[in-house]
């Protein structure tokens, strides 16, 4: 017991609650990871028509002010992209293959675009420290039958709802993932934000599993030639490499 008390003292000293630690046994109140027992096998490729569209293909019903701001941004920055994390909508809109990791209390969703595009979806029903706003926002999930529902708030204004429309404190995402067959998932995404949108907006996108694909070690900043210039304007760097 002395050892346990010493641990408790350390935790208290570190500002951590011992009651949280004691009660941290995984609760499946929020759902059941065994609904999709092998979802982690392989990768899930977005089925999209078109190429090179990113979030610019998402046509939200915008307020006049947001639409005007968007038009100005798109004109200035049309073809450029930094390597900052793009948030949940950006991950979905960019269409890179996804990798799902299911743990008892959390689902981790990684994008093949960049090793830093990682989403944490809390499934354990416990209160979590919501320190945002953050790039990926604060996501909690639960199951409705066989459908995984993810509710996201607290998105940083550093990420966009669609190209040229930053997220705000009132941005709210609902994702509903349904496994239609062992190798096909249908996503319905609903985006709402009364600060910039006149109505909620939904899209569907399906994902097809490639069982033999592995997530690769990707870092977007490795060689991005499409970053905006120092004034925030569009730039494609066409300086040839030297070797």
């Amino acid at each position: 017991m002395k050892f346990a008390n010493a641990i408790a003292a350390l935790l208290i000293g570190a500002g951590l609650s011992t009651t949280q630690v004691a009660g941290a046994a995984p609760s499946l109140a929020g759902g059941n990871i065994y609904n999709w027992p092998d979802v982690g096998t392989g990768m899930w490729a977005a089925v999209m028509v078109g190429f090179g569209t990113g979030t610019s293909r998402l046509k939200f019903p915008l307020t006049p002010a947001a639409a005007a701001a968007r038009a100005a941004t798109v004109k200035r920055l049309a073809g450029s992209a930094s390597c900052d994390p793009v948030g949940p909508i950006g991950i979905i809109g960019a269409g890179f293959p996804l990798k799902f990791y299911f743990t008892p209390g959390e689902i981790v969703i990684m994008s093949d675009m960049d090793a830093l595009w990682v989403r944490h979806v809390y499934m354990d029903g416990l209160p979590h420290h919501n320190y945002g706003p953050t790039y990926e926002g604060y996501s909690v999930g639960h199951w409705e039958g066989q459908t995984l529902v993810i509710d996201t708030t607290n998105l940083s204004s550093k990420v966009n709802l669609t190209t040229g429309v930053p997220a705000s404190a009132t941005s709210h995402l609902i994702e509903r993932y349904t496994m239609l067959s062992p190798d096909k998932i249908l996503l319905k995404l609903t985006v709402s934000d009364p600060a910039v949108m006149t109505a909620p907006w939904s899209m569907t996108q399906s994902y097809v599993r490639h069982r033999d694909w592995e997530i690769e070690d990707t870092f977007c900043g490795e060689g991005n030639r499409d970053a905006p210039d120092q004034n925030g304007n569009e730039e494609v760097n066409l300086t040839p490499p030297t070797s």
């Binding site: 490729a45 977005a46 089925v47 999209m48 028509v49 078109g50 190429f51 090179g52 569209t53 990113g54 610019s56 049309a78 073809g79 450029s80 992209a81 390597c83 960019a94 269409g95 890179f96 293959p97 093949d112 675009m113 960049d114 190209t163 399906s206 097809v208 490639h210 694909w213 690769e216 990707t218 870092f219 977007c220 900043g221 490795e222 060689g223 991005n224 030639r225 499409d226 569009e234 494609v236 066409l238 040839p240 490499p241 070797s243």
Partner: protein, 136 residues
């Protein structure tokens, strides 16, 4: 449903199953209304994230000669198409089709690459078409 509509639906379905497009950005810097062709030799192949770049040396002294840079998909996308760093090793002869830069600079968005042995990489469809007609 008319026969044409059925046919059209089938095409769309096949397209939907095979096109798993992905994009880091909008590719708006390229003029999608134009498709140009250039033949040359690979000088550099940047097999890096977020986009692969192929630098093509086009011989001659005319206006459409010199060093061109072509942007394409991501390395992981290439890897899954069976393309590696050696595919576009410097010195490789290749004929490229591309959407040119809107601003007129020497570069564009890579569409297809045809090698001396007749194999074609179709980046938009994400397939490799061998010279005997087989598709990978």
């Amino acid at each position: 449903m008319s026969r044409y509509a059925k046919f059209h639906s089938a095409i769309l379905l096949v397209g939907a199953l095979t096109l798993t497009a992905q994009a880091h950005h909008s590719f708006a810097a390229f003029d999608k209304t134009k498709t140009d062709t250039l033949a040359g030799t690979v000088k550099f192949f940047e097999f890096t994230n977020p986009h692969v770049w192929i630098w093509l040396s086009v011989p001659g002294t005319g206006p459409n000669t010199g060093l061109y840079g072509f942007e394409s998909g991501g390395p992981s996308q290439y890897d899954r198409m069976g393309i590696s760093r050696s595919t576009f090793a410097p010195g490789t002869e290749v004929t490229i089709t591309y959407h040119p830069m809107r601003d007129g600079r020497k570069g564009g968005q890579l569409l297809t690459a045809k090698f001396a042995n007749g194999d074609v990489l179709d980046i938009m469809k994400q397939v490799k078409i061998f010279s005997n007609g087989e598709v990978q």
